[in-house]
């Protein structure tokens, strides 16, 4: 019955909502790739490492501009940075609230701002290391490494969070970041 219902009226089926536009998705996976490359395969003291770092910075910059002038779900207004909201969201989840957020949920929002800020900090310290003023200066190199370690930890947390939220909400979040559409289970409220 479910298979047929899916294609008939909107009443008894899950519904698909277009959430992540092509640019958001492209930037997301490209950024993930730069982090993967610079964190593993690419040699640290190479020109390639530097260039991938600058590309990562560029990707975040692009995303920030898009968050200012892009479509609804991509904008800052759709996922404001608010620890208060995140706490509320946590409470709501624990009390069984099943509302689904179309854009990043408040916890996810904190994570994306964290990741963007980390990438920016890593990129800036990286650039600093190429300037005469900060060349060979210990704290810059340390900061670069420490923040990158933090980034890797954040990425692991991010993946776990995505898996958890997929399970909890019934919405396939990974697929949504690939084809842009969230399939909302029938009867759920969205926000």
């Amino acid at each position: 019955m479910a298979a047929v219902a899916q294609q008939t009226s909107g009443r008894v089926s899950a519904r698909e909502v277009a959430v992540w536009d092509p640019l958001v998705r492209l930037i997301h996976w490209s950024l993930a790739l730069t982090i993967l490359l610079n964190g593993t395969f690419i040699e640290e003291e190479s020109k390639t490492h530097e260039w991938i770092g600058y590309i990562a910075l560029g990707l975040v910059g692009l995303r920030l501009v898009w968050a200012l002038i892009g479509p609804k779900h991509a904008r800052f207004s759709a996922f404001p940075p608010s620890p208060a909201r995140a706490v509320n969201h946590l409470r709501a989840m624990l009390s069984g609230d099943k509302t689904i957020h179309l854009s990043h949920n408040p916890l996810g929002a904190l994570m994306v701002y964290n990741i963007w800020a980390s990438v920016i900090a890593i990129g800036i310290t990286g650039y600093m290391m190429t300037t005469i003023t900060f060349f060979g200066v210990d704290w810059v190199e340390e900061a670069h490494e420490v923040i990158f370690g933090w980034l890797l930890f954040s990425v692991a947390l991010h993946v776990a969070g995505v898996a958890f939220d997929t399970w909890r909400s019934g919405v396939n979040l990974v697929r949504a970041m690939i084809n842009g559409r969230k399939t909302i289970p029938y009867g759920r409220e969205v926000e």
Partner: protein, 195 residues
């Protein structure tokens, strides 16, 4: 009535291409900006024609990125509008079907079977999907035809098609969209999504 599905797909493909171009141009801009910064750090001034060209290229590319972003946003909003129109049309169709089923007093099992008949499945396929006996489906189908005052499958299907076609002139217009929104406890799509 032509439910114009594929223009939406085409627009989606264009949107993806636009996104790719934006990314590419941004990276090219990055390259030129990086070059300008590096040369500036070495020379200390920007009057060298080579640098001038690179600066112009960088500015042009950044301008291109912003322009394409605005284009992409516009395209996405048109796709979204089309999708809303489509949802409303589909919701409208769903409502028409529901109204008929209510009028005829079909049971919920009969409604399922009726939908599948409309979709062109034969009784055996319906029995498979519903995991019941073919005989049960035949009995349900008979009841459906009787309640709807039709002779059989073909007439039943054409009865509903006629209704959809009759309503056709309204389905495409903005009026219908507004009517559909306000008249009905509409489909979850129209009411569920808040800003």
């Amino acid at each position: 009535m032509k439910l114009r599905i594929w223009p939406a797909k085409t627009k989606e493909k264009r949107a993806t291409v636009l996104a790719g171009l934006i990314l590419l141009q941004a990276i090219c801009a990055l390259f030129f900006i990086g070059d300008v910064i590096e040369d500036f750090r070495e020379d200390g001034h920007l009057d060298n024609p080579h640098l001038l060209l690179e600066s112009v290229a960088a500015i042009a590319l950044v301008g291109g990125v912003i322009f394409l972003m605005i284009e992409l946003r516009g395209l996405l909003s048109r796709v979204s509008d089309m999708q809303i129109g489509l949802d409303i049309a589909q919701g409208h169709l769903a409502d028409i079907i529901e109204t008929f089923f209510d009028e005829w007093g079909l049971t919920s099992a009969e409604r399922d079977v009726a939908i599948m008949i409309l979709k062109g499945l034969d009784n055996d396929s319906i029995a498979q999907v519903r995991k019941t006996a073919a005989g049960t489906v035949r009995a349900q189908a008979t009841s459906i035809y009787s309640k709807s005052g039709t002779d059989g499958r073909a007439q039943f299907i054409s009865l509903l098609i006629e209704e959809f076609l009759a309503d056709n002139q309204h389905l495409g217009s903005a009026e219908a969209a507004l009517n559909a929104k306000t008249t009905n406890a509409a489909s979850p799509d129209a009411s569920g999504e808040t800003t």
